[in-house]
Amino acid sequence: MELLVAIIIGVLVASGVYLCLRARTFPVVMGLTLLSYGVNVFLFAMGGLKINQVAVVGMSPDPTDPLPQALVLTAIVIGFAMTAFLVVLALRSQGELHNDHVDGKPDDGGRS
């Protein structure tokens, strides 16, 4: 299972980084979303992977670590708010600069 989770994280982060390096705002927003998914799964895995165990001491012989779950929850909330903000900002940049290039450059025919 560790291998599976590691591959998932790797794929998510790699696609996230790739999309972040694009020149249009929409792929960048998508990239940041994927990146934060990858990071969240990574954070979750840092408490140690256990199957079918509750996060309460005393309820099971080998309880899973509850702290990463709390951390991930915080990270998800913050990431969600930031993504929403970024979408609004991208829309405003589209409105004010009349194109969706991250540098606000005039359209070059979609080559970038």
Binding site: C20, T25, V28, L32, L35, S36, V39, N40, F42, L43, A45, M46, G47, L67, P68, L71, T74, A75, I78, G79, A81, M82, F85, L86, L89, A90, R92, S93, E96, L97, V102, D103, G104
Partner: protein, 493 residues
Amino acid sequence: MNHWIIAPVLIPALAGMLLLLEVRERHRLRRLTGLLSCAAMLAVAVFLGDQAWGGEITVYALGNWQAPFGIVLVLDKLSALMVLLTAVLAFPALLYASCGDDRKGANFHALFQFQLMGVNGAFLTGDLFNLFVFFEVLLIASYGLALHGRGPERVKAGLHYVVLNLVGSALFLVALGLVYGTTGTLNMADFAVKAQALTGTDATLLKVAVLMLWVVFGLKAAMFPLYFWLPAAYASATAGVAALFAIMTKVGFYAMVRVYALAFADGPFAGLGQQALWWLALVTLGLACIGVLGAKRLGTLVSYLVVMSVGTLVAALAFGQLQALGPALYYLLHSTLICGGLFLLTDLIARGRGEVADCLQIGPAILNGGRLSLLFFVAAIAVVGLPPLSGFVGKVALLRSVPDPTYWVLLLIAGLCGLVALSRAGSTLFWRTTGEGSGLRPARRHLLSVVGLLLLSPLMAVYAEPLLQLTAAVAEQLRNPDLYLSAVLGGGA
């Protein structure tokens, strides 16, 4: 338990919420609330500074959960000093913005308070994940503030700023995950203790985590190669906001100092990444020189001066291993306040010149430009580091405590470049003029906040000796991480 420690976080939080409720059209009420909150913060910061000055490290357990399990706020000399600096900078910045700039967009005052809450929280917290949360609070408020007032330039610079910082946050989370995965704790003190005991793969993983933390803090502090967002974002922000942002890079520097002093001053991880930090800081310093000389606008020039101060500070941290920290902290106080003042002054000059604004080209003369040119002269002398003002004292103290030829040469060249750039800017702005200006006269409140900030430089020069002793005492306390560790971990046991 002493509840005052949480006041620098609670006061702006409550004021911010109150400001969200207040009617938008009643500007006077909102300004009063904001300024009152800043004044209260200043009073509390002085009180806390007095308390920390006794040498005792006070720990405040949030929710009364004891140290490694719950989140704690820790007040030592360094955090007290930084909170005080924030309050001293925030009041004039807000006063300046309260003169019309705050009307250009909704919720300026609330965002300003939330930003202060984030900054103060980051300075006070004793928990790494909590540091992340406060970073996010100050960042999301700063996104709003950076975009305050509209305009395509702002949106463009703001987009870069937001995207870069979101990637930085992702890296921060990865680093925190690794820290938790290897040491099983996020409390800074507990982390420092447990990190020493690690061996094998865990130690390697922790090294990766710490180097990632350096990258994140370097991004916040605007170090090479991660400073490119700063000049555009700061130069295009509203004046009061840019002045407040002068403290933001120092938050990154503070985080570096804190983590470094606690966990990496000695032990198995001593000097981790230090060499890289040293060279990167020197490159930052060198590139800031080029930036200062090449700036086409006064705002950009001042932004590069901020980058220059960051390079100076981080190099002192990386070289001296806390030996040079005392003078570095003095320089930090000086550069933050003067750069803040310079951002405000830039805006005043831009207003006086009408359409040419702060572009460094021939333009109309400023109406009654005498006062502004005098202020500019004082600020330039202070920031470049010529005698008799505080920049000179700070640089001499730094040069004496970092006896490295490369640093000496670069710091002196940086001073020279700053001098050349600022004198060229000053002569263009005030002397190479065509005809009478049509711009606005500076309002009294504007002048008052600029003069207030710039006056601190001669004051810091006059009281240089006690101030240097004070910062040396701060550094001394940081050199004994055991004090911090026993205060945080021993309190509950």
